[in-house]
């Protein structure tokens, strides 16, 4: 077993010295993958659901419930303004994903995304679906995210500019900061359950009542009703949810545990969708984008292709 793989199974207590942990070296390709993933996700989320945002303009002013910076407005913006923001957001996010003028495109996409989703959350309820995506994207704004896997890098190479290093401290901190944001998002969510409800959140029939209510709002949901009708099953899911959420920061200091936490929260969101029809695909995708080691996958894929390429002439000779 190599030195690196042994470390993968060990506790990495370096996070207790944040200054060193955050600002250690990282891969330009991993940072680029996070840029591509988050920006493409934003472009898809906004571009594929235009009516969700454009319909906001039809809201009566008396029903407007602004939150945070949206309190600067008296009512929802007009359809024209929303449409302009939507077009800007999709184009800028697509450019940032491709790494074309990425340092300019990414902040523009982020501002337009916050503008659109800020009004979506001004209907009386805080909408969390895209918040984690936007919070992780914000970290990338001052980062050098387009030094690899980008049109900008390709153009720079064509101009004869020296290639940036694959590993540098410039590339490590944005991904690690995003990892911390994701980990503590789930941890805080779990801790609020304990703060407001205590262990009763899992040990009482709380989840059963949630599932019955959600089922009624969908005119009956067989899976949700099955779990709610079996108290032991609903307790099991409730305890699992509490455990995964509250202990997610362990994924920061114990790398191998990511194989549990990432599928764990993706499974949790899939379960919420199946039983309650609440779509948290943006949160689940953000966790995958931020926590997967894309540079390692790219290297493994390149090695496999190389091995196959070497093997092919040998097969042809035999």
């Amino acid at each position: 077993m190599s030195r690196v793989s042994r470390e993968y199974f060990r506790l990495d207590l370096g996070v207790l010295r944040p200054d060193r942990w955050f600002f250690q070296s990282g891969s330009a390709r991993t940072l680029a993958a996070v840029r591509i993933g988050l920006c493409a996700l934003l472009a898809l989320r906004v571009g594929l659901r235009p009516s969700l945002y454009l319909d906001l303009s039809q809201q009566e002013a008396s029903l407007f419930r602004p939150l945070s910076w949206a309190k600067l407005f008296d009512h929802m913006p007009s359809r024209g303004v929303l449409l302009a923001a939507l077009i800007v957001c999709v184009i800028a996010a697509a450019c940032a994903a491709a790494g074309f003028k990425g340092r300019i495109a990414l902040p523009i996409a982020w501002v337009a995304g916050v503008f659109l989703n800020g009004f979506l959350t001004s209907q009386g309820k805080v909408v969390h679906n895209d918040v984690l995506l936007l919070l992780c994207m914000f970290v990338l704004i001052p980062a050098r995210h387009s030094d690899a896997w980008s049109v900008d890098a390709w153009l720079a190479r064509r101009r004869g500019a020296p290639a940036p290093p694959d590993e540098s401290v410039r590339y490590g901190w944005p991904v690690r900061t995003a990892m911390v944001v994701v980990a503590f998002t789930y941890c805080i969510t779990g801790l609020h359950k304990l703060q407001y409800t205590g262990l009763d959140w899992a040990s009482s029939d709380n989840l059963r009542w949630v599932l019955y209510t959600a089922s009624d709002s969908q005119n009956g949901n067989s899976l949700g009703l099955f779990i709610a009708d079996h108290p032991l099953l609903s307790h099991l899911f409730a305890w699992a949810t509490l455990f995964v959420e509250c202990t997610f920061p362990l994924a920061l200091i114990w790398p191998v545990s990511r194989w549990f936490y990432v599928p764990g929260v993706v499974g949790m969101h899939a379960g919420i969708y199946a039983t309650m029809h609440l779509n948290y695909v943006a949160m689940a995708s953000t966790v995958i984008i931020v926590y997967v080691n894309w540079a390692w996958i790219a290297d493994a894929y390149a090695r496999r292709r190389e091995a196959r390429r070497r093997l092919q002439p040998a097969i042809a000779r035999t």
């Binding site: 002013a61 209907q123 009386g124």
Partner: protein, 179 residues
């Protein structure tokens, strides 16, 4: 194995059969140092994120992350809204037919009691106007508190009928009245 020309400072020919050594310890080059403002940015951002999260402050997109955190009870209380015509005949408001942004009755009712009388009336008028758009006669809006006992739900696809208690009446032009 690398040829002689590719041999780097860290990989002398004598060491070719040994694993490459770590770079000698020392301060990173200025090009590889993270600027102070970057450290400040990360620190400030994470502090703001954690403060909003831990203290449940809604400074959106920084948020309090209260997702299903409040306990649910078997006695579920909700809201139902009905329009009534001049003869008093009531029709349940079908919010699913409204534009998406106007469908959220429970969300509006969370803060309804705290609204000014004029604002309460404006909410009712907005719903009444939407229903008139469907061709119905509307003289006003009645808002009921609905109580459902979820214990009766077990092994039943639908909940038991809700018990309704009249809470507000908004007759057009006369404002909202708490019953």
């Amino acid at each position: 194995m690398p040829d002689a020309q590719s041999t780097s400072r860290l990989e002398a020919p004598a060491q070719r059969d040994q694993p490459p050594q770590e770079p000698p310890p020392g301060p990173p080059s200025p090009r590889d140092r993270v600027p102070a403002w970057t450290r400040g940015f990360v620190a400030l951002y994470l502090i703001a994120f954690l403060i909003c999260g831990v203290f449940a402050i809604e400074a959106w997109p920084l948020t309090g992350w209260r997702l299903f955190s409040h306990p649910r009870r078997a006695n579920l209380y909700g809201w139902r809204a009905y329009t009534f015509d001049p003869r008093g005949h009531e029709t349940k408001i079908d919010f699913a037919r409204f534009p998406r942004a106007d469908r959220h009755l429970p969300l509006i009712m969370q803060t309804y009691a705290r609204l000014s009388p004029a604002r309460k009336d404006a909410v009712c008028r907005a719903w009444a106007n939407r229903v008139r758009g469907f061709g119905l006669q509307v003289a006003g809006v009645k808002i009921y508190r609905a109580h459902v006992n979820l214990r009766l739900h077990r092994y039943h696809r639908h909940a038991a009928p809700a018990r309704l208690t009249l809470f507000y009446v908004c007759a057009d032009g006369k404002g909202a009245r708490r019953v």
